[in-house]
Amino acid sequence: MAATCFHCGDSCNRTAVRFDDKDFCCNGCKTVYEIFQVNGLESYYDLQAAAGATPKEVSNAYDFLDNQEVVEKLLDFNEEGIQVVEFHIPHMHCSSCIWVLENLGRLHASVKSSMVDFPKRRVRITFEKDNLKLKELAMLLARIGYEPSIALEDYSKAKKRVSRDLIYKLGVAGFSFGNVMLLSFPEYFEVQEFWLDQYKPFFRGLMFAFSLPVVFYAARDYFSAALKGLRSKILNIDVPIALGILTLFLRSAVDVLFDLGSGFFDSLTGLVFFLLVGRFFQQKTYAHLSFERDYKSYFPIGVTKIREDGVEENVEIHAIQQGDRLLVRNQEIIPVDSLLVQGRAHIDYSFVTGESESVPKTSGDKLFAGGKQLGSVLEVEALKSVSQSYLTQLWSNSAFSKNKASEFQSLTDAIGKRFTIAVLSIATMATSFWLWYDPSMALNVFTAVLIIACPCAIALAAPFTLGNLLRIFGRKGFYLRDANTIERLAKVDTLVFDKTGTLTSNAGNAIVYEGMELSNEEASLLKNTLRASNHPLSRELYGILDDYEIMTLDDFTENTGKGVQGTVGSCSMKVGSAHYLGQAISRQSETAVHIGTQEGYKGRFVFKSKYRDGLVRLFKKLRNDFNLVILSGDHDGEKNHLEKMFPFQFPMFFNQQPQDKLAFIKSAQQHSVVMMIGDGLNDAGALAQSDVGVAISEDVNVFSPACDAILDAKKFNLLDRFLHLSKQATIVIKWSFLLSLLYNITGLYFAVTGQLKPVIAAILMPLSSISIVVFTTLAMNMLSRKLKS
């Protein structure tokens, strides 16, 4: 059936439901449709077709919201029966979502108002607590497919205050610039008009007043950055800028005070304004993405603790102590290293190790934090507290506390040093010449050199090139933390890839059957036997087999960790490990489900990871410019396959623990610049340690570990273009440096010969800045035109 779900747009497979003349892919979607229909929210589908998401089963997922302490932390406001809460809803993606979330009041009368902040993917809900508990609200949202993602770290910190400093400064500078421009206009024409002469002091006084907030407020950052640089003995680009601003201001103030001239207030305010515009442009942020997440975002907020008297209680994850008994349900993450007391465990460690298949555990076994339970409820005993667990200790590594951006010397700062030295020596030489030739002009020339050499255009080149590229990348699904990342990206020469989830897609395994063909009856029996089993491999296999009638098994036995057996009439079917079927294990490191009937062994289903499309082509292209490495936490079962896949050799390492990955990157950094591309928590250390850490994400709105960039998995095959473009961006920056140096030399001619008039400065400075901006924008847009997806 080619029909797609009316609610979520997925194709309707075997489980399709037909309701109200519309196709739905599952009952969940149908239920949401019904809820919307009953409450008059059908225009949800008019705004955008198939906008919904299949609701997940959430019976216990929000139990921690029974805990009053947790609730208190989440609430923004809680007085007189009215509560306000802000939820992060990753699924929010279109105008339909905004509409339905802002009309929550129709689904539950206690919701007073709800307001969406779409760029942040957040909704702020005001509700009456008497009729609606926070937990019910969360479940209501989950039921209509908008599962709120609640991570305690979002709330535990004092609410981050949005910094609007730059906007204020930009406002001040722009305001003063505009006014000073108007006031200095008469001076440009040097008309000897009586009334203009009369009012000159008044005009100049006003200009002086307007320049004060610019110098002392808007330009403050440049002074402090220059001071900081000087203190640590670095001549960064802020030094000549600060020097320029200071000279401009002092010279102009003196000029006005002693009536020597009109001063350079127009250039001064314009300079600061343009510089701030550059900063503002570079500051492209993705409000809905987080580049800072650590393990806390993956872990649940609360867990169910069993008290000694047998009563279940919800406690915060940080309150877990050694010896506590905890309940871990299906799909829940084990929060601490613990001992399995009761229950059948199938732990999926793919978060932690990258291992693709789940591991069965029996009572008495040790479970590590970060594993996800698949199947029934477990009872475990905590061995440590959360922060002392094996996985979480990774975050105490120093790699997580260093600041990559501040350790990196940007192109602009690199040129800033040479530039400052050159300007100061030219100024000294010119001044000494004038001291000998005409001492009255010496001070004039000295200040003029410092003013005209103020590297406004140089300081603008990088922000505009990188800011522009940042936006281009963002449109193509490559989200960078900041502009500095692009410069580091351009220097990369070694690419390290994780395997599971990075080179392979998470969208399921490719399952291949090897063995004797199964008859119809046998296939039907197999399907029904699998139906009764809870093992994740069984579930996955069940999903891909054709549909057969559901029949009742006469007999069903399950041997934990081995396999299952189902019988109907005289036919029986055994499904399980090679050992269970009495077969010799052919290849240790292969994931396979073996089957056999009463007649004997039939064959096996082999689970193979599915590699991303275009992977080989991408690697072929990347190979020419970069060293490639694969660093996998998985076993080496895929090694042969990988080696056959690529027509060339490159190093591959398997069975790498998170700490091993971090150490590998560190040693590789001795002689190269490393970019790590990974996806899970197991790569978090490597991502933090590498020069550029890129997290691959199937759905960028959902979480990814702390990194410098997030790459949409669909755009994985564009990686070589992104890297290439970053390199070209640095070339564009260098060309604009050259261009702005030409302007500086022209200006210096006027300055050194003592002919610098305010009007020349007022023309040269904006002209150079604007032409640099135009040049970099055009160049980057032209270069990125090739970036077609």
């Binding site: 905004i98 969406v116 779409f118 609007r164 305001f175 006003l206």
Partner: protein, 63 residues
């Protein structure tokens, strides 16, 4: 010609007024989310239309 003092101070006052207004609007946070309001303003009609549509449906069902 001393009217120029008056004119200039008026123009500066007007400029400062707008500047202060700008600072206040930034402070109130109305530029923080520049996307959602643009979508939200189109919604009111949907709801009304939906109501009437629903009523019609209900009517046709009862008839």
């Amino acid at each position: 010609m001393s009217v120029i003092y008056v004119l200039l101070s008026i123009s500066v006052c007007v400029a400062i007024f707008f500047f202060v207004a700008f600072i206040f609007t930034v402070k109130s946070g109305q530029y923080d989310d520049s996307y959602t309001p643009s979508v939200r303003m189109l919604f009111e009609d949907e709801l009304v239309k939906e109501n009437t549509k629903n009523n019609n449906q209900n009517k046709s069902q009862t008839e």
